[in-house]
């Protein structure tokens, strides 16, 4: 038995990061509201990072809430997707989906029957604490659970790591302004988070879980500690990190709590840690408690364009406009809609897109509420960006390297360590949109590296082919030479042999 991992329950204030106005208080005043069942849902089938999905239902088919409608991954073992309401499959077609760039995606459209009949196929999957870790991971994928922090990475994949895991870190440090969906979850369902944590610990075969919350979330800390005490659990602990953006970044959290830096290009599991969002843990608990797969999530509805700011539990696939109208109500229907927080979120083209598993927050922003882009001015080399950068890279240097498309310099300066948090944009006195430049540079760098790899492969194939052709030529030459030599040595024998062969052929 290795010694338990040492962690820092109250990490010191980090040097990096920023403190934008939090704007969180208003949305934590009211309890989570369960949104009414929508009449129609549009469920994009691609809701897991990197695993292509395909629908397994056909239009006209009747489904119940929670019934699988799509599978993902080459073997279909990836996270499934489930009908979020009961009713009939109306269509499977391309529809616009929310994303940083406006795109369309294959979506399953379900017209609800208004009855919300539950699917019973997952009842009694068994006591999770008796199941083997492999089986637990398979069930987590079956439940369609993905990282609810917004990354949508397959939770089952993260739980079935080959590494020896020292600690499970549950990320409840929601650092972006406005967003409070995890905060409210911890407050109202602390016991559910703990149950999920225990299942995840069993799947990871680890005996330590640390739930990270921000210093601002005093009530959450109390709720979680009370729940831990009530359960008499000695293996789950709460760590309190400074309320600074982006303290809730996976790497930043591990750096603060575990005092270890995740290497660029590496994963936390390389160091023996696995990080999951608290909402993901709650979703795991939900599935094993009641056989309910991931068909809803908590969404923070905020901004000046809504009547009240509140967290609502919405079914996946609900139209955003319908969700707002049926819960908090619009005060300004023409407001811009931003999905995610003001730092890393993106502007949506309209209000009719569906809620996905990644929709943690919708900000209905009045004009001027979120800082509009200001005219860009030249860099004055003030280096404020490098002081706030949580990845400890030099944004100003990267910016010049990106401007001259110097791929070597971009790699050396650690472009790929950039987590696109937007701290540099926030502090830049010249209003340079650095993050978007870095995202573009990352894309170009990836393309460049792919091209180099392709060229290298083509070169190897070409060289091998040349080698083979040369070898074949020399072998053929050798054969001919041998025949010539034979002829020179004993011409009669060779000629007789040839004559025999010709005669035997002619005889046939």
């Amino acid at each position: 038995m290795s010694e338990p991992a040492r962690y820092n329950p109250q990490p010191p204030r980090p040097a990096w990061g920023i403190r934008p106005p939090s704007k969180k208080n208003i949305s934590t005043d009211l309890p989570i509201l369960t949104a009414p069942i929508p009449k129609q849902v549009v469920i994009p089938i691609q809701q897991c990072l990197g695993l292509p999905a395909r629908p397994i239902v056909t239009p006209g088919q009747q489904v119940r809430a929670g019934e699988p409608i799509a599978v993902s991954g080459a073997t279909g073992a990836g996270p499934k997707l489930h009908a979020s309401i009961s009713g009939g499959i109306h269509a499977i077609e391309e529809r616009p989906v929310p994303g940083p760039q406006p795109t369309t995606e294959t979506c399953v459209v379900i017209h609800g029957d208004g009855q919300d009949l539950p699917y019973n196929g997952y009842r009694g999957v068994g006591d999770p604490m008796q199941l083997e870790p492999d089986r637990l991971c398979a069930l987590v994928a079956e439940a369609g659970i993905v990282g609810l922090g917004g990354a949508l990475y397959s939770t089952a994949d993260k739980l079935s790591t080959p590494h020896k895991i020292k600690a499970l870190i549950l990320n409840g440090a929601e650092c972006e302004p406005y967003i409070t969906c995890d905060e409210m979850l911890e407050l109202e369902h602390a016991d559910k988070v703990l149950r999920g944590a225990r299942i995840m610990m069993r799947a990871l075969n680890t005996s330590l879980a640390i739930i990270a919350v921000e210093r601002d979330m005093a009530e959450d800390r109390v709720a979680l500690n009370d729940a831990i005490e009530a359960a008499g659990d000695r293996n789950i602990h709460v760590a309190v990190v400074t309320a600074k953006y982006p303290a809730g970044g996976e790497r930043q959290l591990i750096q603060m709590i575990m005092n270890q830096e995740v290497p660029e290009g590496g994963y936390p599991s390389d160091l023996g840690y696995v990080c999951h969002n608290v909402a993901t843990a709650a979703a795991v608990a939900d599935f094993f408690d009641s056989g309910r797969p991931l068909i809803s999530r908590i969404v923070t509805l905020a901004g000046g364009g809504v009547e009240m700011t509140r967290n609502v539990e919405a079914r996946i696939g609900t139209e955003m406009r319908e969700l707002i109208q049926s819960t908090v109500g619009y005060s300004n229907e023409l407001a811009q809609l931003v999905m995610g927080g003001p730092m890393m979120g993106f502007l949506l083209p309209d209000h009719t897109l569906p809620v996905t598993k990644a929709t943690n927050c919708l900000i209905c922003a009045n004009p001027g509420e979120l800082s509009p882009p200001r005219p860009e001015m030249p860099c004055i080399r003030c280096s404020q960006c490098s002081q706030v950068c949580p990845a400890l890279i030099l944004p100003q240097e990267l910016l010049t390297a990106a401007a001259r498309h110097d791929m070597g310099a971009l790699v050396d300066l650690g472009l790929n360590a950039c987590i696109e948090c937007g701290c540099c944009d926030y502090v830049c006195p010249s209003h340079i949109p650095m993050t978007s430049r870095f995202i573009e540079a990352k894309r170009a760098l990836g393309e460049n590296q792919r091209e180099t790899q392709n060229a290298e492969r083509a070169r190897k194939r070409f060289e091998k082919r040349q080698e083979r052709l040369n070898r074949q030529n020399s072998e053929r030459g050798q054969e001919l030479q041998e025949q010539v030599d034979e002829l020179a040595e004993s011409p009669e024998q060779v000629i007789d042999a040839i004559m025999d062969r010709v005669k035997s052929k002619a005889g046939k």
Partner: protein
């Protein structure tokens, strides 16, 4: 007098030995330069530059037998990179050696292909799979888009499509 002679003499000896060792050890390697140029070329092996492959073209550039702007698949980026390496001013791509096009892959119309195996010999990177009297197909991930398979095809069943 003797001291001065010895001093200068030994100094000369030391310098002479150091220089002769250095001249052997640090000899500028022609192959190094060749590899560097070759690395910058896109390795399509298309021969549009007038040389049978990327390495022969790199050799030609090195001995001054070719300009740096004869690689159409590489386009401007390759010209700039080679110019930077060899400290030569970048030139516009020479249209005599083919037009600069976006990346492409060859596609065989399998309904027309007669299985003649002519394209197999033409492909510089063995990216066409097939045998005599069997249908051929292009391994898309390995195809460099060199277009060398198009001319040998007797039934014109190969087309270039953008990736």
């Amino acid at each position: 007098m003797i001291a001065a002679t010895l001093t200068i003499g030994s100094l000369v000896a030391v310098i002479a030995i150091t220089l002769s060792i250095a001249s052997i050890r640090l000899r500028s390697n022609r192959n190094d330069a060749l590899e560097k140029i070759n690395d910058l070329l896109p390795q399509t092996q298309c021969g549009q530059c007038g040389f049978p492959g990327c390495r022969p073209y790199a050799e030609a550039i090195l001995i001054g037998a070719a300009q740096i702007n004869q690689c159409a698949p590489g386009g401007d980026a390759t010209i700039v990179a080679i110019g930077h390496l060899l400290d030569r001013p970048p030139l516009a791509p020479d249209p005599a050696f083919g037009a600069v096009k976006p990346p492409q892959v060859a596609v065989i119309d399998e309904g027309i292909c007669i299985g003649c195996a002519a394209c197999l010999q033409a492909c510089p990177v063995d990216a066409i799979l097939g045998a005599a009297h069997f249908m051929h197909t292009v391994i898309t991930t390995e195809c460099t888009g060199c277009e060398l398979c198009i001319a040998p095809c007797p039934v014109d069943c190969i087309t270039m499509e953008s990736e």
